[in-house]
């Protein structure tokens, strides 16, 4: 039973550790998935921000390029107006100024596109990033190549603020007119290129966004699946554990029931054993009594038969004597001789076997036999004391003698009994129970003797105690058994010959008398049991409420 419980325990423990491993790995996995997911989302945001900044830049560049184109157109228009005004003597100041502002703006915008810078847009200032894309750069380069040869002239013209140098004006105009389409084309090309780059970037951005979305969705799905799986696994583990716990609880319940059954059985068996011990000692007692009664009964029966027979002989002799007397009185003497012979014959027999004296002694012996039976019955009555359940003052010596007589059929053939009694040792006790103790110890003593030995019984008064020592010259008790002999069910007799309860009951009885019992034994030379009980039993607490119930409850082990 113990074994099975410990196995169950181990099993349970294994389950817990498995579960722990599962949950730890689950958490690690979950954290990894969450980290991956977060990284993905973060990277999407970062890329998104980066790319939208880029496309912002692109838009600013496109705007910048558009402004540049418009500045060129404006410059070219004002220059040609200035040229016309110059020749028509019209005021030229405003057109020159506008030209100057436009051409300067054109040049500055070109620089901004090349190296980056700040551009005022209405109230806001917009930061323009330098163009870096190869295609856009080459488009810008082309525009610059077109612009570069005339740059100095056109800027000088703008700086003069007057049209003092007509040659310069002529040269500029010629250049602008001649190059107008090319510059506009280049500018257009730049704008388109920038626009395309921007579009590409937006496309890229969208692709990345879509990919990232898909990826994050996948990660999320994987995480969800993984979570679902591990949750389901945990569920199944929990379910299994729950089932197991339920099963164990059921098992425990059945086990408990079984143990209770066993306990009941044990109690029953114990009471049966106690009963069988009682029956065994009763049987022993009955057998002893039967044997003890049988012997006197046998010879008394024989004696009655003898007396009957003798009576017949004596009666016949008496009848003959009466006939003779009659003969002599009446004087009918014809058969006198034969009568005398018959009487002599009878007298011879009566005298030979001393029938008169023998009959008397036979009767006397019968009386002895009957007295012996009577004594036995008295002792038996004393011994059992069925009518005395309470504490009584009795003569302990008498009780020992009763027990000795009950055990006589066992003791007689094994041992000589040596008694050394303290005179008139009267003590308070439960007499029937104490007799059982004496019978048990005396019987044990006789049984311990192999061939023939001595049983010594000594009683003394020691202060307020009665001390009874019962010793034998038997085989003794081994030291390892000595401390166990008062334990219930301990026996060295073969199975079926002794319940092992005898001495445990003795122990209980002495305990109930507020006394104690000791044993000393030497293997091979004998055993002595010493009983000590108080001469007066302590008064019982008569109240109903308190009281420790010392008479009702006693523990076998003490």
């Amino acid at each position: 039973m113990k074994k099975s419980v410990s196995q169950g325990g181990t099993h349970h423990h294994q389950n817990i550790s498995t579960q722990t491993t599962i949950s730890t790995s689950g958490y690690v996995e979950l954290i990894a998935y969450a980290a991956l997911f977060l990284t993905l989302v973060t990277s999407i945001f970062v890329v998104n921000i980066f790319l939208s900044r880029q496309s912002n830049d692109d838009a600013a560049q496109v705007y910048c390029a558009t402004r540049q184109q418009r500045a060129w157109q404006k410059a070219q228009k004002n220059l040609s107006q200035t040229h016309i005004a110059c020749y028509t003597q019209l005021p030229i100041d405003s057109t020159v100024r506008e030209y100057a502002a436009a051409i300067r703006g054109f040049d500055r915008l070109n620089d901004i596109l090349k190296v980056g810078g700040r551009l005022m847009l209405d109230e806001d200032s917009v930061q323009i990033a330098p163009v870096v894309e190869t295609q856009a750069l080459s488009a810008l380069q082309r525009l610059e190549n077109l612009w570069a040869p005339a740059r100095k002239d056109l800027l000088t013209l703008a700086a003069s603020a007057t049209v003092a140098d007509t040659a310069l004006l002529e040269r500029s105009l010629e250049y602008t007119v001649r190059r107008d389409d090319a510059i506009l084309d280049a500018s257009e090309n730049l704008i388109v290129t920038l626009q395309r780059t921007s579009n590409e970037r937006i496309g890229q951005l969208q692709t990345i966004q879509v990919v990232a979305l898909v990826l994050s969705l996948m990660v999320f799905a994987a995480m969800a699946i993984r979570l679902a799986v591990s949750l389901r696994r945990r569920d199944s583990v929990i379910r299994r554990n729950t089932e197991e716990i339920l099963q164990q609880r059921n098992q425990l319940a059945t086990e408990k029931e079984r143990v209770e059954h066993l306990l009941d059985d044990l109690k029953n068996t114990q009471s049966q054993l106690i009963q069988s011990e009682k029956m065994a000692s009763l049987g022993q007692m009955v057998a002893g009594i039967a044997h003890e009664v049988n012997t006197p009964l046998g010879f008394v029966m024989n004696n009655i038969s003898i007396v009957e027979r003798n009576h017949g002989i004596l009666a016949a002799a008496l009848a003959d004597y009466r006939s003779l007397d009659n003969m002599l009185r009446t004087g009918a003497l014809e058969s006198l001789e034969s009568m005398l012979e018959s009487i002599a014959e009878q007298m011879e027999r009566i005298e030979e076997f001393e029938l008169v004296a023998r009959t008397q002694s036979t009767l006397a012996e019968s009386t002895i036999g009957l007295e012996r039976i009577q004594e036995l019955i008295t002792n038996l009555k004393n011994f059992s004391r069925l009518d005395e359940a309470d504490v009584k003052s009795v003569n302990i010596n008498d009780n020992i003698d009763s027990a000795l007589m009950i055990a006589a059929n066992i003791v007689k053939y094994k041992a000589d009994v040596m008694k050394d009694y303290a005179p008139n040792l009267v003590a308070e006790c439960y007499p029937a129970q104490l007799n059982q103790v004496f019978l048990n110890l005396i019987t044990n003593a006789a049984q311990a003797i192999k061939e023939r030995g001595v049983i010594a019984i000594k009683t003394v008064t020691d202060q307020s105690d009665a001390v009874i020592k019962i010793s034998d010259t038997g085989s003794g008790i081994a030291p390892e058994n000595l401390k166990k002999i008062f334990e219930p069910f301990f026996t060295t007799k073969p199975v079926g010959q002794g319940t092992g309860l005898g001495l445990s009951i003795v122990y209980k009885i002495i305990e109930r008398h507020n006394g104690n019992i000791d044993v000393e034994s030497v293997v091979g030379s004998g055993t002595t049991f010493t009983i000590r009980i108080p001469l007066r039993q302590p008064r019982k607490d008569k109240s109903l409420v308190s009281g420790n119930g010392s008479t009702a409850i006693y523990n076998i082990h003490g």
Partner: protein
Amino acid sequence: MKRLSDILLVDDEPLMLNSLKGLLEFDYKVHTATSGFAALEVLRQHPIKVVISDERMPEMPGHELLRQVKSISPNTIRVLLTGYADLDSVMKSVNSGEVFRYLNKPCRPDTLRNIVSLGVQIYDRMSSLQKAVAVAAPQVAVNKNIATPDTPKTLPDVLFIGYQAEEVLQLTAKLRDNFLISAAHTIDDAMNILTKKPISVIVSELQLGEYDGLDFLQVVREEQPQAVIIVLTDTADVKMIARAVNELQVFKYMTKPTSEAQIERVLTDATMKSELYQQKPEMNLQQTAKIVDAKSVPTPSPSLREQLQQAQKQLNKS
């Protein structure tokens, strides 16, 4: 005046001895002893015909005394008287003392007188027949020749009744060289075997189906007086043993389980006993008792007897 027969009473209780002596002293020369040792002393000095001993005595129990009586004076009829039914000592007294009768105390005076009378008669008959045999010396010589090991002798027949076939087979394997073993599981089988040939030793169970084993064995004894009966059974009960002794005069009463060696030893002893019965039928106490006093031996149950007779008839027809 005729000489009275010597009998010996042994009991450790003097008053009991006195009463027994009083009962018997008119008809016998009664010797008494209060212990086994004293009894053996008396036995050596007087031709004791019957010894009646109590079982429970200090120093030497009754069964031990009877065992020694048997070796000192084999013809002395031994009766055990006991008040306390102790199975172990009863078994011992039956098996080692070969007790003639087992009496329970208190024993009725009539019963006691009858037993003593029967015992004395059996003793006398046995002794007279032995003397007659001793006179016819040549016959003894012939008998001795048969017994000598040089001449090829037939193996003694042993019949086991009421055991499992395997049990007997095992024994047969061991004892084949010295005994001719047959087995009968039921009473019918046993009857068939018994009507065919004389059996030296019968080993029997006491539970034989519906029949009481002791009743059945009585029938057998009637038919085959030379057969020595051994009871081997699980149940040892003082009453059963007493009946087995008093009614059947069993040779041994054994309880299962027993060893092969013991069975062999007992069978050897029993075979010798059977040979003795064949040569000197007067030594067969049961038969002698029957001749001396028919009432002393109980008659077997009639139904079983009829069964046996029928078996015999059938055999004769075929």
